[in-house]
Structure formats: C-alpha cells, structure tokens
C-alpha cells in the first residue's frame, strides 16, 4: 500500500508532467535562447547588448512602463466613481449595471480594438465630431499612437479595477461614512479619510491586476499602436515573426518577465507596509 503522501504525489504526477512540459520546459528554453546567438559558441550576453544599444528597444521599454502606469492611473480615477456609484445604486439598478460592467470582459480583445479603430480613425466618429464642431480643420491622427493604446487598454482593464475596488468597499460597514460625518467630517473629507483608506486592499489588488495586464497586453497595442508605437510585447512579436530573430525576442521576453516580477515584488512590499493596520 502507498502512504497518503505517496498517493497524493502519484495522483498529482500527471498534472506535474503536463505543466512541466507545457510551461516550465518552454520557459527554460526561452531563457536559454536569450543567452545564445547563432554566431557565437556557448552562452553570451550579445542579445542584451544589442537591445541596450537599440533606440527602438529602449523606447519600447519606457513606453511599456509609461503606458502601464498611465492606464493604471486612469482606471483608478475612473474606477472609484464607478465602484461607489454601483454600490450606492439600488438592487434593481445593480442588476442592470453588473452585466454592463462584466459584459466587456466577454468580448474578444480584438473586437474591442477594432471598435476603437472605428472611433479613432481619421474618418471615425471622434474626428467627425471634431470636424463637425469646427474644433479642428483637418482630422487628428489618433490611431496608431500611444494615446490610442492607452485609451484601448484603459477601457479593456477598467472592469478589473472596478471589481477589485467594489470587493473591498463592499466589505466595509456602511456606517463608517456616517460615523465619520457625525464626527464633523463633510462628505469630501470622509471620502479621502475613510473611503479611500478602506479601499486600499482592493486598490492594491486592482493595481496589480491592471498593471500586470497592461504590461503584458499584446493584441490592443498591436492593433491600436501598430509599428509606430511598439511596446515590449509587440517588439517580441516583430523580432520573432518579422526578422525571425528568436534570440532577440527571448531577450526582450526576459526583460518583460523581470519587469513584471519587479512590479509584483513592489506591490507586495507596499502591501505589507500598508496592510499592517488592516489585517
């Protein structure tokens, strides 16, 4: 007979094998290929040197961070009113609002990017309105820019922020705001001194989700940013499938992984500092 521990290992072995083959092996191979080059024997840092000297890669690196930060900030600023409005709405209104909030998550990212193309293109709705109102004389070039990527990703990721904020705001007793007001704090002061601190756990979760997803988003930057505003993800794509430089693609991938891990670490560090008074 097998002991309980042995049986548990035996039962989970197929899962380990599958995960190992499908996730760990490719990851290790990617890691390895980042340090190899067809021209050089053995391991080398040539790929990273090339990236370091590439203006394009540098721009993509900073643009990726910039876009992720701006998208996160936008979803925070828009997320609070939405989350609070949702929780304040009556039960009937909530049953209408919840599907509206979650529905975008069920629509393909590609479809939504095309939606933005329709809105932002030179003959699109946005330019039509601007032209019609006489605000601009000729169409504004919005598509295939960093702005378009930020708009698209913000809309894409807003539900994650709203749902995270709602989860923590919902848990807070509704009387906390009233207690604050009875003690002499007006609604604005109450919002900043009570509601925001209460929502910090949700804010941390939402920030992690949105930032990580913005960092690794691919379809939206590809369709809305195009070649004119490459991010690290689209750079990987063009290295891998346009110039077939798989080693360079792997090197960029590694940079992206390190960036994401650094952010996760930062988020946890901030979390531990702040959450001390919450647990």
């Amino acid at each position: 007979m097998l002991s309980a521990t042995q049986r548990n290992w035996a039962l989970s072995l197929p899962a380990f094998v599958i995960v190992g083959l499908l996730a760990v092996v490719p990851a290790v191979m990617m890691l390895a290929s980042a340090f190899t080059s067809p021209d050089i024997e053995g391991f080398t840092l040539a790929n990273f040197e090339k990236l370091w000297n590439s203006k394009l890669a540098f721009q993509a690196f900073w643009r990726t961070i910039r876009v992720a930060i701006i998208v996160t900030l936008i979803t925070i600023v828009l997320g609070y009113p939405l989350a609070i409005g949702f929780l304040r709405a009556g039960p009937r209104m909530q049953s209408i609002l919840l599907p509206m909030l979650v529905f975008p998550l069920m629509v393909s990212v590609v479809v939504r990017a095309y939606g933005w193309i329709v809105v932002l293109s030179p003959s699109g709705i946005f330019n039509q309105v601007l032209l019609g109102l006489g605000i601009v004389a000729s169409p504004v070039d919005l598509l295939y820019s960093e702005t378009a990527v930020i708009l698209g990703e913000s809309q894409l990721l807003l539900p994650y922020m709203v749902l995270s904020l709602m989860a923590s705001l919902q848990k807070a007793e509704s009387n906390l705001e009233e207690a604050s007001m009875s003690l002499g704090a007006n609604p604005v002061t109450t919002f900043f001194r009570i509601v925001i601190p209460i929502s910090v756990p949700g804010l941390l979760t939402g920030t992690l989700l949105v930032f990580a997803l913005a960092l690794t988003a691919f379809a939206t930057p590809l369709l809305l940013g195009g070649g004119r505003a490459p991010l690290l993800t689209t750079l990987i794509y063009s290295f891998a499938f346009t110039t077939f430089d798989w080693s360079a693609a792997a090197a960029v991938g590694l940079v992206l992984v390190i960036l994401a891990l650094a952010f996760v670490w930062l988020q946890r560090w901030v979390g531990q500092k702040v959450m001390k008074s919450y647990e």
Partner: protein, 343 residues
C-alpha cells in the same frame, strides 16, 4: 448639551410610511429610549435626528431650534452605532481623536482629550491597539469615547447592547448609565429590549408600526400602559377584549370592579399581569378555572388556566412553593385591572 425635540415627524419612502407623526421631547441631560419591535420606525427616527434621513414633514429641534437644514457634519451629534462602526485601519486613539481633528484642534489638545475620554470609559491603556484587537465590550467603550469626546449636543445610541453577550450586557448597562450621568449628555437610545429601556431611561417612547404609542417614565408605562400593544410589549400576559360598565369591566359576561374613566358601554381591552391574579382558596372567587398546563421557571411556577373569560387559557404565576392542580378559584383586585384602548 441640548434638549432634543421631535415634532410631528413624518418619514415616507414612496408609499411606505416609516414614521407617522411622531412627537416627543428629551430634556437636557436626560436619557430617553425609543422602544419598539424591529421595523417600528425607531431607527429611522434616530437617523432623522442625526441628519442621515430628511424628514418628509415635521421638525427636529435641538435646544428648541429647528435643525432640519443642518447637515449631519454640522449638527454636533455623537452616535454609537449598533455595529460600533469603528474605523478599522485606525488605532483606538486615532478613532477617538478623529472628531477632534475635524474640529481643527491642535495635537496636544487632542491627545489630552483622547486620554481623558478613554479614562472615562475605563480603557486607559489601549491607545495603540486596533479595533480588531479588542473585545466586543471594549469596542463599545471606544465607540462611546469617540462619540463623547466631541462634547456632542446629543448622544444617539442604536441598540447599544444588542451585540454583546448576556453577562457583558448587564455590566455595560451599568457602565452606560454611569458614563451618561457623569458626562451629563442628553442621550437618546433606540432598543427593542424592554428591560434595557426600563433600567436605563428617564423617559420611554414606545413605538409600533411607525406610530408613537405612548410616552412616559418607566413607572408610568409599567403601571399604566395605554393600549394593548404597549401592555403586550412590556410583558402583561393576559389581555382580553372587554366592555366598560358603570363601576368596572365586563369580560365575557363576568363583571369585575375596576378603576377607570372610560365611558360605560365602550369596547375596551382589559389586561392583568399573571402575578396579579389571586387564589381565592375555598371561599367563593370571582371566577373558576381549570389548570391545563404548568411550567417551572426557578423562582416561579407558571400555569395555564382555562377559564370562562377567554377561549385561550390565561396565564397565572405563583411562588415556587405553591403548586396548583385541578379546579381553582381566582379573584382580581380592582386596581390590578388595566383598562386599555383597543388598537
């Protein structure tokens, strides 16, 4: 400190009336309770005084000045919520000091007043703890300190003891009264627990179905409930439909002498406590009954007695040494029969 008055308060939510024409007054420094079952409108009334609900009509007066148009954050009212509503991410000291900070006091003053308030509620060294590290009773003391430290015109307590277990509840009842007396703050308490209302209050407002049924001191309400609802709510066991006669009441054809100024012939309810029924022994009583049920409750024996007065058995309470069975004769003293309006 101020007096509080609620004058003809009406609160409607669409077609639903939560409070219908409620009026009562609490004098400066007194403790008044609103007593009633859940859904009777007592919490809505409290929230209207705090300013969280706007009155559909009627007035809230503090020190005889209407405050209907003053928002909650300028009313200077201290509230202790049923759940205490302590700010979970703040220490005890920060919780208590919050209201003082909003009043733009300087650090030293806040620290001094916070110390003082925490001493008053008997929590002298919990400044740096967080609410989650405190017991239920301690949380309540913090909530009390937080409400008192701002020197409110009125302190409102929403079911202050309901979240505590029985033993702690008794202890906090005394504490609450002591703290209220020492600070001298006018206090309005909302509760569904008649014992809580009777032991703590100077005045009791009994509410049911959005209506104020009776306002009076605990003794007045205990001795002279004015309607069947109040009588039932304060635990009078036997309430029977009756008719007023010239010198008493007639219950199901039986005449009893009673003290009342209701007009003869009018339909009323007659009520008497289980402990006010007397055994008539062998001499002729006023009515006879058959013991159909008995229960021991430690200090008392409680009996169900089937009589000609009503279809359901009436309740009789005797001392623990007195046991009854079979047919018994009963009588009722005229001053023990309470005459009530029919609801």
């Amino acid at each position: 400190m101020s007096s509080v008055e609620v004058r003809n308060l009406v609160k409607k939510y669409g077609d639903f009336t939560a409070v219908r024409d409620a009026s009562f007054r609490a004098e400066t420094g007194s403790l008044i309770s609103i007593l009633g079952p859940s859904g009777c409108g007592k919490t809505t009334t409290l929230r209207a005084i705090a300013g969280f609900e706007t009155a559909t009509s009627g007035d809230i007066l503090l020190d005889d000045k209407p405050v209907n148009d003053i928002p909650p954050w300028r009313r200077n009212i201290g509230i202790v919520f049923q759940s205490y509503a302590l700010f979970p991410f703040m220490t005890v000291a920060d919780n208590v000091g919050y209201g003082l900070k909003m009043r733009k006091m300087d650090r030293d003053q806040i620290a001094r007043k916070t110390d003082d308030a925490l001493n008053r509620v008997g929590l002298p060294d919990s400044h740096l703890k967080y609410p989650r590290q405190l017991s239920g009773g301690q949380r309540q003391r913090v909530a009390l300190a937080r409400a008192l430290v701002i020197e409110p015109a009125v302190m409102l307590l929403d079911e202050p003891l309901s979240a505590l277990d029985a033993k702690l509840r008794d202890e906090m009842r005394f504490e609450l009264k002591r703290i209220q007396r020492q600070s001298g703050v006018t206090t309005l308490l909302v509760t569904h627990d008649q014992e809580e209302a009777f032991t703590l209050s100077d005045q009791i407002v009994v509410m049911n179905n959005a209506v104020v049924k009776q306002v009076g001191s605990p003794r007045e309400i205990w001795d002279n409930p004015n309607c069947a609802f109040v009588a039932d709510f304060i635990g009078i066991e036997n309430i029977l439909p009756a008719e007023r006669t010239t010198n008493g009441v007639r219950i199901a054809g039986h005449d009893f002498a009673a003290l009342s100024d209701a007009a003869p012939g009018s339909d009323i309810m007659a009520a008497f406590r289980s402990s006010d029924l007397e055994l008539a022994g062998d001499e002729a009583g006023q009515f006879a009954g058959q013991v159909v049920g008995e229960a021991y409750t430690g200090n008392y024996n409680v009996y169900q007695v089937q009589t000609g007065l009503s279809e359901a058995p009436i309740i009789l309470k005797t001392g623990k040494s007195q046991r009854l069975s079979g047919t018994i004769n009963l009588k009722l003293a005229p001053d023990r029969i309470k005459i009530l309006e029919r609801d």
